[in-house]
């Protein structure tokens, strides 16, 4: 009898223990996880403070920020093809169009129609592609010239991105004298921020004027992108960036972010500068990684003057299609705390974002709305911004 009792009480003990184990774990989760003491014990990240030198100033010339001219047409094409996850090379936009309609494009057929003409006869190539593509007059492009003044006073020139439409980009390059600079090999490198149509597909325009310019791309480029670089006649020295931080010249570093991006693109590289006595300047193409992630990464890894966030230039990829999401308001609300002194934004930042930044009282550098840029709320085509001079 007592043996039975023992086994019953042992069985009861096990039942209780099994129940308690699950209940106790949930109780711990509920009562501790989201409390301030739980957060008090999170390890503080140690800053690496990598010294990448300093430069005196950086000047940016906006060659083009108008990646497309009609937002409804662009997003309509994406919509028709099946949304934001569809492979960009199949959207049937120039220069990879084949005339078969939405979502039926292919890299091979597109490039097949113009390969012989690249990079010398871009006019004809674009004409051919315009006949095959959806909304052929919509493409523009994103590209900017970056002039870095070293501490010794010498100037280094770089291109960030090379736009989209051959036609538009040639005109834009000529407007800002980029064609001459390329021909004279004054430009030391071309950085492709990421593989998107509006930053990368205009590559033949750069190659036409300098087919050996050192080229930097993210290691997340897809096969089509890598073939395109060859197919447009590029013969130079290409660096496939596979490290988080690549120092270019003193005070200038290329930072790599591994993020999946809309329409099957992977990864973005952006530029960081340390301006003597001023602080950190961040320049991006689309900034798909997010401007604060970009700033936070720099904060965690780099050493810069005054330990201060000084300036921003580029697309911030907030509301590129004039779309919105409450999470974007999180940025509008919190950007002020980061203390940037000069915010030069455009392109996929979105007009609405710029407007909200201005309403929030942030130091947004205004533009002139020339050359088909749509708003004075931000830096338009042909506008310049300088940091540190």
């Amino acid at each position: 009898m007592s043996k039975d009792n023992k086994s019953i009480s042992r069985r009861d003990f096990v039942k209780g223990a099994a129940t308690g184990l699950v209940a106790g774990a949930f109780a711990g989760m509920g009562m501790y996880s989201y409390t301030s003491s739980a957060y008090g014990r999170l390890p503080k990240t140690e800053r690496k403070m990598q010294d990448f030198g300093a430069c005196r100033s950086v000047r940016v010339t906006n060659i083009s920020e108008t990646s497309w001219f009609n937002n409804a047409h662009l997003i309509g094409d994406i919509h028709e093809a099946g949304g934001l996850l569809v492979n960009q090379y199949t959207l049937n936009w120039a220069p990879f169009a084949n005339g078969k309609g939405s979502a039926k494009g292919s890299y091979d057929e597109g490039i097949g129609s113009i390969k012989e003409l690249l990079p010398h006869d871009l006019k004809k190539a674009w004409e051919i592609q315009k006949k095959l593509a959806l909304h052929p007059d919509n493409p523009g492009g994103y590209s900017c010239l970056i002039e870095v003044e070293s501490l010794d006073g010498s100037i280094h020139k770089y291109l960030l991105d090379t736009g989209w439409s051959y036609e538009w980009m040639e005109d834009s390059f000529k407007r800002e004298g980029i064609d001459k600079m390329l021909e004279e090999q004054q430009i030391e490198a071309l950085f492709i921020s990421h593989e998107h149509w509006d930053h990368f597909w205009g590559l033949p325009v750069t190659v036409k004027y300098d087919n050996r310019i050192p080229l930097y791309i993210h290691d997340g480029f897809y096969e089509e992108g890598l073939r395109y670089i060859k197919d447009c006649g590029y013969k130079g020295d290409m660096t496939v960036v596979d490290k988080p931080i690549t120092e270019i010249v003193p005070g200038m570093a290329l930072l790599k972010f591994d993020v999946p991006i809309i329409n099957r693109v992977f990864g973005e590289t952006s530029l960081a500068f340390n301006i003597k006595d001023k602080g950190l300047v961040l320049i991006s193409g689309c900034c798909h990684q997010g401007i604060l992630k970009f700033a936070d990464f720099a904060h965690a890894n780099l050493k810069y003057d005054n330990d201060k966030f000084y300036g921003i230039y580029g697309g911030l990829h907030i509301s590129p299609f004039e779309d919105w999401d409450p999470k974007y308001d999180d940025l509008v609300i919190s950007l002020g705390q980061w203390g940037f002194e000069r915010i030069g934004c455009n392109h996929c930042t979105g007009h609405l974002t710029a407007k909200k930044f201005i309403e929030a009282g942030y130091p947004v550098v205004r533009g002139t709305a020339r050359f088909r840029s749509a708003s004075k709320d931000y830096l338009g085509n042909g506008d310049k911004i300088s940091f540190g001079c």
């Binding site: 009480s9 989760m29 996880s33």
Partner: protein, 467 residues
């Protein structure tokens, strides 16, 4: 007691057609094949209909889930007769019931949300209106789909809760369709209230300027959740949805089924589910902070609070998949111990399997779903494929009696008695031994939690899922 007085799902017993693991293997194979074919047809961004835009596909899979719950749980298959359910080939039954659900879903989305609510009540439910006010066609549809989808997220918690936790009370004695209509209407009404309290502000700040006169902007949860995004609510509501089903399947309604008083048991179950879900929600959020570091408000993706809240819901759904699988296809293994022990083992086992499914998903899904590598693509929602898969589980088990591996046979009178018995369980009684065990167990549970939160930063530092 005859078997028409209990629901169809309770009146039948699924028996294996073949012995051993063959039925589970056959069904798994067929389900995965069906998943992939339908994924390609409906969702895949490379496939035929490409509903993964993402919000359209998201809305559809969530609403299908609700409709399946309504058909099987709330309406008990009304207007289909018991005899039809019993005698029709599972393939035909599955097809008919799925198509009926799809039709009902279309009527509800298009007829109710877009045409009635969107045209006479709240403009953002109707894409046509948004477009007319200057929003691009794509985002008009995405915004409306997002709102309609969020409504489904809430209903997917409340509707089954009413059956599982509240035991259909106080309408359990009503016949169909009166009971179904009542509970559908009541839970729809409650979902509407929760929608206004949780998601309406989210939708209102989607538009410029913030729609301050019609919704609370910025929303009241801003400080607490460190974001103005409604994803904070998605987090705990998805946890509620998942916990309802854990409670119904692997937990067999334990431990709340020990409460004899009807009202108390039902109330305790309903609020107990919420309490457990909120605990899970806080833990999953904190776990991410431990692995990836503290969030930065205003940034995007992995480091953003709004994304972390969303990911809480996503992780919870990863737990639901192995739990349903265990119940449906593994006969709720293990069953040989006492219920508390079975429940405990299943909980730990499915949690471990959830982690495994999570890892496999993020390591491989980009290879076949038409999506991209990475955790935090802003337009990728792992909930879409997971719910799509769960929907197929439900079609298979609820609408097709587990065909082909299983078949339905009516329960015997004795077995039906057991069903009744199960509402209040008598297998666990308060004894000193139980109390002792409970205390020891509670301490061990807390210890387990402490071990996990101490291990997570190490996991974050030493273990990468995506290279």
């Amino acid at each position: 007691m005859d078997n028409s007085s209990v629901s169809y799902l309770e009146s039948r017993k699924l028996v294996k057609r073949w012995s051993g693991p063959i039925p589970a293997l056959v069904n798994t194979f067929i389900i995965l094949a069906f998943f992939y074919v339908t994924w390609w047809i409906f969702q895949d961004p490379r496939g035929l209909m490409r509903m993964y835009t993402p919000y359209v596909g998201y809305m559809v899979c969530r609403w299908l889930l609700i409709l399946f719950i309504w058909v099987a749980y709330i309406f008990d298959f009304w207007p289909f007769k018991r005899s039809w359910l019993r005698n029709t080939h599972p393939l035909i039954k599955g097809t008919v019931l799925t198509l009926v659900s799809v039709a009902a879903m279309i009527i509800l989305i298009k007829g109710f949300f877009i045409e009635i609510l969107g045209n006479f009540g709240i403009a953002y439910f109707d894409p046509g209106r948004l477009e007319a006010m200057g929003i691009t066609d794509f985002y008009s549809i995405e915004y409306a789909a997002e709102a309609i989808m969020m409504f489904a997220a809430i209903a997917s918690w409340l509707s089954p809760s009413w059956v599982v936790a509240c035991e259909n009370a106080p309408w359990q004695k009503l016949d169909q369709p009166a009971r179904g209509i009542t509970i559908a209407v009541v839970t729809f009404f409650m979902s509407m209230i929760v929608y206004f309290l949780t998601m309406h502000s989210h939708m209102a700040i989607l538009f410029y300027p913030w729609q301050k006169f019609t919704a609370i902007c910025p929303p009241y949860w801003e400080k607490f959740a460190n974001t103005v995004s409604g994803n904070f609510h998605i987090a705990w509501i998805m946890c509620c949805t998942v916990v309802v089903w854990l409670f119904e399947t692997i937990w067999e309604r334990y431990p709340f089924n020990l409460i004899k008083n009807n009202a108390l048991r039902r109330t305790a179950s309903f609020f107990g589910i919420i309490a457990i879900a909120v605990s899970l929600c806080f833990f999953l959020y904190y776990a991410q902070d431990l692995v990836w570091g503290e969030t930065i408000r205003g940034t995007r993706r992995l480091m953003a609070p709004d994304w972390r809240w969303l990911h809480v819901g996503e992780m919870a759904i990863f737990w639901l998949v192995p739990s349903l699988y265990l119940t449906f296809y593994c006969n709720n293994w293990p069953t040989k111990f006492s219920r508390p022990v079975n429940v405990c083992i299943r909980t730990l086992l499915t949690a471990a399997l959830a982690a495994l499914v999570y890892i496999i998903y993020y390591k491989t899904s980009h290879l076949f779903l038409g999506t991209q590598k990475g955790f935090s693509h802003p337009q990728q929602f792992p909930m879409i494929p997971m719910i799509w898969l769960i929907n197929i589980f439900l079609i298979n088990i609820w609408f097709m009696d587990g065909w082909p591996g299983w078949k339905a046979v009516p329960k015997t009178a004795a077995e039906l008695e057991e069903v009744k018995e199960e509402i209040v369980a008598h297998d666990v009684r308060w004894t000193p031994g139980l109390a002792k065990g409970l205390i020891v167990g509670l301490c061990a549970g807390v210890l387990l939690y402490v071990v996990i939160i101490n291990a997570l930063p190490w996991v974050g530092a030493n273990f990468t899922i995506i290279n």
